[in-house]
Symmetry: C2
Subunit: 164 residues, 2 copies
């Protein structure tokens, strides 16, 4: 755990299970302009920075027809975070909320999900817009984004609407 | 690997890395009406079945404020699938495509992502609509769905549009 990621007042941690249940392969790396957590945009839509997804050579054949997608779902591993928090007090809100009501990287399985716009693919490198993660973040998956199942424009996060 | 999930003609597998890079905790189970792969709906929007997400007691405090969300992102582990396919020929299309252009469960990290409508929460059990997975599927994460970053109504998957 990095020093950037401590337990704040009002945050509650649980004992982690004795062992993990399944294993992940890092399939590539994400290159972004942000080298420290404090530099990352708070919200991916705040930034129009072009980031690069570098897929390992082993998996490159899996990109066939990906270029026909306007948007992708990226899953990646927030490897610098802690995994035992169930209640958190995000610094920019200052209110205690459950881990599963937040998009905080601190969660039992720190898998982040971002919807990105695909600009282009060259070899095993994808140029995308819509990320807010640290440079060097391990990539777990690339999926096509289907508006028919993934887009819910009317969705609401009540606690977030109320704060405004 | 289950017998349901073989390699079809035109499918290409690669050697998997010698070891995994990170570990996952199963944090609960998903209860659905579907006991075998052939019974699952092909597309989650084809079904209005109410499914139940059973979160383990250890993590239950993490649900605070989740009830204020109209929709959630669920991540879960497709534990019966194979992980080495880079090119696949889905039975219902019959065309070879890259793993990363498909939502097939067969992928290096078989993490499925579904956007579900939240009907209610009782204790550690969430009632949701919008799943298409097998009964007993291991749960990995629950996230709030933010329309501002997760909804892209105009997104296109070119290969899918062309087929129609």
């Amino acid at each position: 755990m990095s020093k950037d990621f401590g337990v704040r007042e009002g945050e509650i941690a649980v004992d982690l299970p004795a062992k993990t249940d399944a294993g992940l392969y890092y399939i590539g790396r994400i290159r972004t302009p942000w080298k420290q957590r404090k530099d990352c945009p708070k919200n991916a839509r705040e930034s129009d920075a072009v980031c690069t997804v570098e897929l390992d050579e082993r998996w490159a054949a899996g990109l066939k027809e990906v270029a026909t997608c306007s948007h992708l779902v990226l899953l990646y591993w927030m490897h610098q975070t802690q995994r035992d928090l169930v209640l958190q007090v995000p610094g920019h809100y200052g209110v205690q909320r459950g881990t599963f009501a937040l998009r905080s990287p601190a969660r039992p399985n720190p898998i982040a999900m971002s919807v990105v716009k695909l600009l282009g693919i060259e070899g095993g490198k994808l140029s995308v817009v819509g990320l807010d993660c640290l440079d060097g973040t391990p990539l777990l998956d690339i999926k096509p984004y289907f508006a028919s199942t993934d887009s819910v424009p009317e969705a609401l996060v009540g606690w977030h609407s109320q704060k405004k």
